[in-house]
Amino acid sequence: MNCTDFLAKLTDYFDGQIDPTLLVEVKEHLGTCHHCEVVVDTTRKTIDVYRGAQTYEFPDELANRLRAAVMDRCKTVGKYPDVEKRASEPVAKHS
């Protein structure tokens, strides 16, 4: 297995969806190719850092405001279908 073949299998390798025979070849390649070993390690860290970080804040205050606006629209339409058009416009103001 060369580096190009290895790269083609990277997604399946990360997702644990790789054929056992290919997995042996992938591991053999990783044992001999430092570049690919670095790519695996840093790609894994890329996924981990995004998964673990709070890239965008979603404070409780915002959640409560949006939820209240959603439920207000749902209840209004549920009771008075004729005002559906008015209710289809977002009502919660931006922070």
Binding site: T46, A53, T55
Partner: protein, 241 residues
Amino acid sequence: MAATQATVAQTEAQDPFDPTQAIPPEVLASVLPADVAAEDAAPIEIHPDIALVERAKAGDTAAFEVLVRQYERQIFRTAQHITQNREDAEDITQDVFFKAFQKLEQFQGNSKFSTWLVRIAVNESLMRLRKRKTSKTVSMDQDVETDEGSIPRDFAEWRPNPEQNYSQSELAEILRKTIAGLPPGFRTVFTLRDIENLSTEETAEALGLSVPAVKSRLLRARLQLRERLSRYFRQSKEATK
């Protein structure tokens, strides 16, 4: 008395539902519908969302509110990752749940309720991007043909815990800037698969893409992000000496 005990013993011996014994297939077939019995009678797990959706369909808005609470964070994050705009993400979050409420009858339970919501969120987000960039069409296919970042070029090792060198807000800024540079088609796949933790199949379903297309975009998204983050997280040469 002896006659009664004998009758009980006989009854127990004939009881086909002794829990300590395997149920004979012919008994199973007699008590289960044919299609269930044929499937080895495995217990069927019903997702708790299904019951809430059914109650909401019947007009129970409190049940729908539980669903909103459960998925509002995921929908907001997805919208913000795709649109890269906070105000748009706020509007989209409202619109997604309102549209879902209006179209609840269309949800048949063939997929997870969360995947159905994410699909609405993706469509709404792409529509917002199109509105914002009036001169340019925005779609899941935009810029995905680029070869940029599909071949690794940076082979520097990273610091063992790269995120520890930055404050939480600095790190969030780096991550936002980095993912904003990806084409929307890559950004969306990475967001659903790696940040929101949808399976490859769920991501494909939410985006209306094939599984191989998701895998290909995911690989390139991951490699491009890796390449771009490396400039912040790489170990300095002095430190490795």
